[in-house]
Amino acid sequence: MTWNRRKFLGAATGALSAPAVLAEGSGKPRVVVVGGGAGGGTVARYIAKDSDGAIDVTLIEPSQVYFSCFFSNLYIGGLKSIDEIGHTYGALAANYGINVIHDWAVAVDRVDKNVTLAGGQVLPYDKLILSPGIDFIEGSVPGWDLSVQTKMPHAYEAGSQSQLLRAQIENMPEGGVYAMVAPPNPYRCPPGPYERISMVAHVLKATNPTAKIVIADPKPKFSKMALFEDGWATHYPGLIDWIGEDFGGGDVSVDPDQMMLTIDGEEMAVDVCNVIPAMKAGRIAELAGVTDGRWAPVNSADMSSKTDPDVYVLGDACQQGDMPKSGFSANSQAKVCANAVRGSLTGSRIFPPRYANTCWSLIAVNDGVKVGATYEATEEKIARVDGFVSQVGEDANLRKTTYEESENWYAAITADMFH
């Protein structure tokens, strides 16, 4: 099924003036959520929980088990088991009556307002919420495409990719080379590339101390750089070689057959090559015709698409302004969206939007750092208001507390998404 983008745009303009009409069937307004991660899981749960059965909520997610990208680096570092980062959708169905369908959404008809699944099912909606995460931009790392992801894993979807990367690291020859091709901005984070480097270093320092880590990075700097540089100098001196934009880190190609990586014209043999390509919104956002370039622009007040007021886009896939593409951000956006969607469908009170984010990163065992900010909705975008970041040279006890705090947060946010 293909959809003409212009037809969508025309339809969306019409929809602005059309009165709200409920989907046929049960008489209850219907919300369809695509994607069961931090954005989709949270928004489905909040709409169902707070509307107390007045809204029919369907969640479409292909995976039976959700492995969180946050803490997946800790799995790679051997600090968490794969089960500890895996979550199922049973409680969403049992506790809130959410209809969870494990399938792929393959098309969106914004004129007739329905979603088609790979299995053939067509689901009508009054409000559609897309939270599909990311896809990779083909050709952004020459020599790499999805067909070689089992050889050169990205591990940017947690689960089997994380397991593969961890196994490759464990099987590196003595004195071998782990290489990462880091992504350009903006990118999904977590799993932060630099936390991942820290966790790989943690493993190699213990099991393969003569090994080397090389990062080819197209960026001149990265988030929390001073904290990571200081932490790497403390915990892993001489192990990590970061090659930024200034030294050709953006001029990269790979040869998966030969396990070669070329940085700035210099070829090197590598044993593990963790390629994290440039990113764009998950494909369904593009199929729905709500993207403009790589991402889907949204209104800062309620996360509704700038193309269609009955479609909302959450998390990594949306273009909203200053918030990072983190699970915490998606969770925060989902709550604003849930309040707005519920209000427009049932007349419940709609409160002013408020957004926040905190990202914890682990540099070494018990050496955690964090960065956070609050945001407000302006006419133009979601804009940063206030923030904080851990400081270089903090007390070791504080760093340990920060890590323990992140573990508590993990328990809370996953409960907030799934329980």
Binding site: K221, M225, V392
Partner: protein
């Protein structure tokens, strides 16, 4: 020269050797050439030059150490720097001083005021140096530039630091 030669002996210490072993053969050859060059050629380095930046308490003393009695004149040296630094640990900065023979970058709000002094040699392609600096707080950073005739220029740039970086 004697002082330099004594220090050069340490170049081949153990950890450095280790680093070099990882380099390509070509690069290693180049390194040996450079060592030879250092040992045999007269470098533009004198022992007294190895004294680091002036260790002075006040801005006035620092300016005096660079400019002497000549009051620095505005213009002729510019500081390229974002007005808002989001990470005080690593603030990109460029000093441009066309026709200067020497420049000094000063951060009056830092624990140590002089950040960098650059002397441009005969093969400098431009009187320009870019680096990344630490800024402990919001402040007006400024630069002094000495001209071949002995005159001194000054330039300044105010910067707001969101997260300070001077520990």
């Amino acid at each position: 020269m004697l002082f330099i030669r004594k220090e050069m002996a340490q170049v081949t210490s153990e950890s450095d050797q280790k680093e070099r072993a990882a380099m390509t053969l070509n690069r290693r050859d180049a390194m040996q050439v450079s060592l030879w060059a250092l040992m045999c050629l007269a470098l533009p380095v004198r022992a007294q030059d190895l004294v680091a930046l002036p260790n002075v308490a006040t801005l006035e003393e620092l300016i005096y150490s660079f400019a002497g009695d000549a009051p620095p004149e505005k213009g002729g040296v510019s500081i390229g720097m974002e007005a808002i630094a989001e990470d005080g640990y690593r603030v990109p900065v460029t000093i441009d001083a066309p026709s200067a023979e020497e420049v000094m970058l000063i951060a009056p709000g830092n624990p140590v005021l002089p950040v960098l002094r650059a002397r441009f040699g005969p093969l400098a392609g431009a009187q320009s140096i870019a680096t990344r600096m630490r800024l402990g707080q919001s402040q007006e950073v400024f630069a002094l530039a000495r001209l071949p005739g002995g005159g001194v220029n000054r330039g300044a740039q105010a910067v707001s630091v969101i997260v300070g970086g001077c520990s």
